[in-house]
Symmetry: D2
Amino acid sequence: MVPKLTVLSHFSIETVRLVIGENKLTNMTIIQVGCNLTYSVIKPTNFLFNVAAARTEHQRICEESFQLIPEISFEASSVEDNQVYRLYVEPCDLQLQYFATVDLHPEFYDRSEINETWYSQLPLDVLPYLNPSRYCESDRLSHFALRMFGNVQPGFSRVNAICDWINNNLDYQAGSTGESTSACDVLIERVGVCRDYAHLAIALCRALCIPARYISGYAVALQPPDFHGFFEAYLGSRWYLFDATRMAPVEGFVRIGTGRDAADASFATIIGEATLTYMAVWAEQTTPNQISNESLRQSAVSTNQ
Amino acid sequence: MVPKLTVLSHFSIETVRLVIGENKLTNMTIIQVGCNLTYSVIKPTNFLFNVAAARTEHQRICEESFQLIPEISFEASSVEDNQVYRLYVEPCDLQLQYFATVDLHPEFYDRSEINETWYSQLPLDVLPYLNPSRYCESDRLSHFALRMFGNVQPGFSRVNAICDWINNNLDYQAGSTGESTSACDVLIERVGVCRDYAHLAIALCRALCIPARYISGYAVALQPPDFHGFFEAYLGSRWYLFDATRMAPVEGFVRIGTGRDAADASFATIIGEATLTYMAVWAEQTTPNQISNESLRQSAVSTNQ
Amino acid sequence: MVPKLTVLSHFSIETVRLVIGENKLTNMTIIQVGCNLTYSVIKPTNFLFNVAAARTEHQRICEESFQLIPEISFEASSVEDNQVYRLYVEPCDLQLQYFATVDLHPEFYDRSEINETWYSQLPLDVLPYLNPSRYCESDRLSHFALRMFGNVQPGFSRVNAICDWINNNLDYQAGSTGESTSACDVLIERVGVCRDYAHLAIALCRALCIPARYISGYAVALQPPDFHGFFEAYLGSRWYLFDATRMAPVEGFVRIGTGRDAADASFATIIGEATLTYMAVWAEQTTPNQISNESLRQSAVSTNQ
Amino acid sequence: MVPKLTVLSHFSIETVRLVIGENKLTNMTIIQVGCNLTYSVIKPTNFLFNVAAARTEHQRICEESFQLIPEISFEASSVEDNQVYRLYVEPCDLQLQYFATVDLHPEFYDRSEINETWYSQLPLDVLPYLNPSRYCESDRLSHFALRMFGNVQPGFSRVNAICDWINNNLDYQAGSTGESTSACDVLIERVGVCRDYAHLAIALCRALCIPARYISGYAVALQPPDFHGFFEAYLGSRWYLFDATRMAPVEGFVRIGTGRDAADASFATIIGEATLTYMAVWAEQTTPNQISNESLRQSAVSTNQ
């Protein structure tokens, strides 16, 4: 599934873990990400592709390529950190090839020092991530969240406890859920995929007054390779990465989109009629010191303020 | 709230616990039940009242009275064990007074000897109680039920474990739910009243292939006094009584209606427009040896085959 | 898909439309129905098959055969009119062959003379069919039903108007819905299959205080051939057949199961793990005067009191 | 309910309808808006009040006052156009008094010239308003929306047709819905309040690929006076105001909050425990030429680009 990208092999690779200030560590990691998508386009169709690695201060894009076969003109534009591609296609077989080399340097923090932020202290632009959204009906889960996690130590540990609970109480099953499946559905049916795990975690965080949002991305070491859905919770004064599926180390996550829930971070928005006939996704670390679950268990990881 | 019923005071009261066969104990208990309901009838309205104690081999009706003020003609008829009253009322203030003296003799069994019945051995007339119903969407809960209770010792103990779990994970809160609240809603919102507790328990039983059904009734020692909703599970070769609310001893339950869920056992079906303005319900044991939770903890109770 | 059943070819075929009393016509029609089902049984599994034509006063079974390959012992038993087969199977490829020759004689009535029955006049055993059920949440649809059909002429014409509306406002799309799809889901999503059409119609009838129930059956002239789901509404003093899909004439419907909704009338209940790998269903009229949509448009059809 | 605000009486009042360019008219209208809210605060509680008129190029705030009794310190801050007040309160009776004099100048456009915008032409910052949100599950309504409005003339007329349909098919009933009621719920139950009307309209617009968002505000001539919920649809190159309730003229709407749905525009967010015990809301035009439904029927109104 993962195509060879030999053109990238001559990149210099460097990963150094540096101490920055007292509680903050960083890592520089070169990750190659990309995807090949093929669509059978049946009617004239508009596409919005949201597959490019975001440009943030923690993600530097060293090299990047976006190609369409046949060669169709497209509009590349940015919404905040996010690079999207918009195009209009007549019926055809459309192939998209994207790859990027990303210089990722997440920050690492001591979990035990990360507290929740009082509502009165939350930045105003963070507040919308307390609101219920399409797939995260936090308004219905407040009683449940308080019952289950109300007495858990607030802070990083509480969000971690939510992830533990979800991990222990859901079964990961490819194809078990669909486009309209929400956190409440998952809580009833107890099966899902990464996006469902994230939605339930986000909903429970919000129900406890912890801002939380959905991230789509590439994930090193994810098996089988695919686009990944995970989440960020706002604690202390920044957003920390979490993944309730525990399927890949968060420090190897390359952010694509950020939103209220998966409704905001679809890798392909299709207005028209087209069927995905082939998909390959990859994320490979090309540095010697592998991203490992070891560090995941010890540090909190942030790639956003 | 509980009106004095002096006419009943001269009844002889007897409660004897007898050994019948090896594993079967019975109790004879005289219980006085009844209700006063007042409706403000706004438009011409049809009522179906389902408030009378059922006539079963375990419930003998010693005395009974059903009265309406003003005196309106009504039809009293039986559907199987169940006595219902149907009437048509022009706008007025309608008062219903029902009371009965019930000679209740539940059977008591050793819990440890009660097993689940293989699907292939279940009587055909029991099978509909495996089907999902309006308020018990067992079809959506199979994964959850198997995860939570799949490894619990089958039999009485498994249904008991379901009741324990519900009791520990829901908060009883009067007025928290409504007419359209289902088992799945309750599983999300984690608050409810007796009918919600019963619905969730029934749904989980059915999801595990244990037939279960809803019972409405009077309950001795229920505080505050009200109509009660509980359930029966079919184990071994009979229906056993359970109450996930644990608010009153099951051996003091006087059956009114039996059905798939509360949709089948409403104490008043109203076709028209009427508002309940007053309601008093009571169930009082008039025998010396009080029904106690002591015995509840030790025996399984059945009032049906 | 429809196997030749040459053994049946020597049956004498007769269809005569007779006048019985004033408003009542009947038809005698010989219909051959049957199905071939193949399952890949993965784990030890209990099956309950509900594929046999019901034995009613309007459906006489002339000849019938139920066979399993491999030859596995099964229990054949009746619940009221309904013949079911229950069996326990070890992992294997299980083939079921059922066929029957049914002498069907529906009754025909003048639509314009069929009225709704006052709640106070409904037989008690009909009342449960006013209650909401798993797939027919009539409790949520009362406002909608009154708005849409409250001013329609009561009686057969009102149920017919409901069928018209559903037929005009849903799209029939094989595979569009699933096991948990309910009337409310269908009202939102506006696509479905026969069972969804029936569920929505039943829910709307009940919301208008018209008893309604689900029928599974065989249907002459259904394209593509399959088990069919339709419904009965209780009007005047009997149950009348309706089909909101309008895909086949109701007078050619052979009843299998009768229930609150599809939860009660599944053609196969499977406790264990088995996958349907082949299915053929047929219903063929072997009489000269073909069942036609012509008569459907003119008469109400009943096969039940 | 509407307090006299005599201090405002010396403001000069002017309303002039001016021609600006060819198709664009504007109006200058002085509107006095405000609210009095009293809460019984039971536990220490954080409040976020979103009751202030937004500062936009179409809404100039001439005078404004925000007061709390008792005098509690609060933080006033802006998120884009929006002024919010955040405070922390110990148990007490909290009274909020807000009033503002707003110089409102909506733009008026010829409805017949307003078209929908191709997906490929929509500004990127408008795209999130195509996504489903908590109360606007547009993903479930695409089939319905296409069936009902797919053949309606695109543009202003199509959004207007959606409003017409909602207005004709819902009943406005105070108190009929709750905090968790969504567009799909409303489509089933067919009753609601202004926010429900807006949610359904927004969901249907999005399902047709018309960006739509929720507006909370004050509304001149709304009876009974209350906060109002309405919506904007993005057509041509700007946001136009719509109100499916048709309870007040859109040209008299004073914007408070703008969001995906009501989850983003609650007039009071309460973290803690407090009960609203008194509420008065007002919006009064103080200019001679009254805002009238007359003009509403003839022009499209925009207060945002």
